[in-house]
């Protein structure tokens, strides 16, 4: 364990790939093999916030939705959650959650709020609020 001199980061690394890639393949079965989320051009950021669309009629008989869709709906029912939290909450890879959320968005079941675009940092007032909030923690 100590034979390594500092600064020799050349690591083969590839022997781990199969182990880690293995489980990544199967979860896409729940999306029917789809890897693209929802309407064209949709890309849910990790911190995009997902809320139930409470104006949507509650039709749980929509049998095109799978159990994983319904789990997502239940998670969002409790509170508005980020895509990352939904992935952690369902134990599904983020890529899969994105596809499922796309389905829910197309059916009008959820509202997705995208984060502030990169070029526009939130205004100074919000940053000050964040700083004060952190101090008060």
């Amino acid at each position: 364990m100590t034979e390594d001199a500092p600064g020799t980061p050349s690591r083969p690394g590839s022997q781990w790939y199969d182990l880690e890639a293995g489980p990544l393949v199967r979860p896409y079965a729940v999306t029917g093999g789809r890897t693209q989320a929802g309407p064209p051009g949709t890309r849910f950021d990790l911190i995009a916030l997902v809320a139930l669309d409470r104006t949507a009629p509650e039709t749980d008989e929509d049998d095109s939705l799978g159990p994983e869709h319904l789990t997502l709906v239940e998670l969002c029912r409790a509170e508005t959650l980020s895509v990352a939290e939904l992935a952690a909450g369902t134990g599904l890879p983020v890529g899969v959650v994105r596809v499922l959320l796309g389905d829910l968005l197309e059916r009008g079941r959820v509202i997705v709020r995208r984060p502030v675009p990169p070029a526009h940092l939130p205004d100074e007032r919000i940053l000050r609020e964040v700083i004060e909030g952190l101090r008060a923690l």
């Binding site: 690591r11 916030l49 409790a78 509170e79 508005t80 369902t90 984060p115 964040v130 952190l134």
Partner: protein
């Protein structure tokens, strides 16, 4: 798995989420920092290092750390209802860099955690954020058995752009972690204002 105390009310249409990255070398304390300041247990995917993984992940001088973050772990701080801060620990190993671009998109800024015993481990992160012009602070995690260096020494050793803050911290300590985040948000605000002025002049 269904999470935590949910004091925030759902369905807030004006909700705003901000993203901060926590980067740095393997075993430097990223998950520890995220956990120290987060209100929820950090949600994470970790892979236990096996014998096969150990030579790859050089743990010299990192004491008894036996797991490493291979995907991402994150925590949340609710500033108020409708305003949350998400902290994402970036994958500490080079082979997971493909996740960085996604993580850094739209980020408010980044914390680069450094260990003075292995300062070179944070070079890639410093480089990454400098090139993408993402505001960052360097937080030196003061391990008990490491020699202490002053912030200017670290700044010099990392060849940081003037103005990039260097903070000494204890990643296990909530107040210390809060201070790091406050310095980052202040700095990100300054950088942003300067860019705005630049763009109008």
């Amino acid at each position: 798995m269904v999470s935590e105390n949910s004091d925030a009310t759902g369905g807030d249409q004006t909700a705003l989420a901000l993203k901060i990255l926590v980067a740095g070398g393997f075993g430097v304390g990223k998950t520890t920092l995220v956990g120290a300041v987060s209100e929820i247990r950090p949600l994470r995917t970790e892979e236990l290092l096996s014998e096969a993984g150990r030579p790859v992940d050089d743990t010299d001088g990192v004491g008894q750390k036996i797991t490493t973050t291979v995907a991402m772990d994150f925590g949340r701080i609710t500033i108020r209802s409708g305003l949350s801060l998400y902290l994402f620990g970036t994958p500490g190993q080079d082979r997971f860099w493909f996740l960085w671009d996604e993580l850094s998109t739209g980020a408010l800024g980044a914390v680069v955690l450094a260990d003075t015993r292995r300062l070179e481990d944070c070079f890639p992160a410093v480089d990454y954020f400098e090139h993408r012009r993402i505001p960052f602070v360097v937080a030196v995690n003061c391990f008990p058995d490491a020699r202490t260096y002053g912030a200017p020494d670290v700044s010099h050793a990392l060849d940081l752009d003037p103005g990039t803050p260097v903070v000494l911290c204890d990643a296990r300590d909530r107040d210390s972690g809060k201070e790091v985040l406050i310095r980052l948000v202040e700095y990100a605000g300054r950088v942003h204002t300067a860019r705005l002025l630049e763009s109008v002049s």
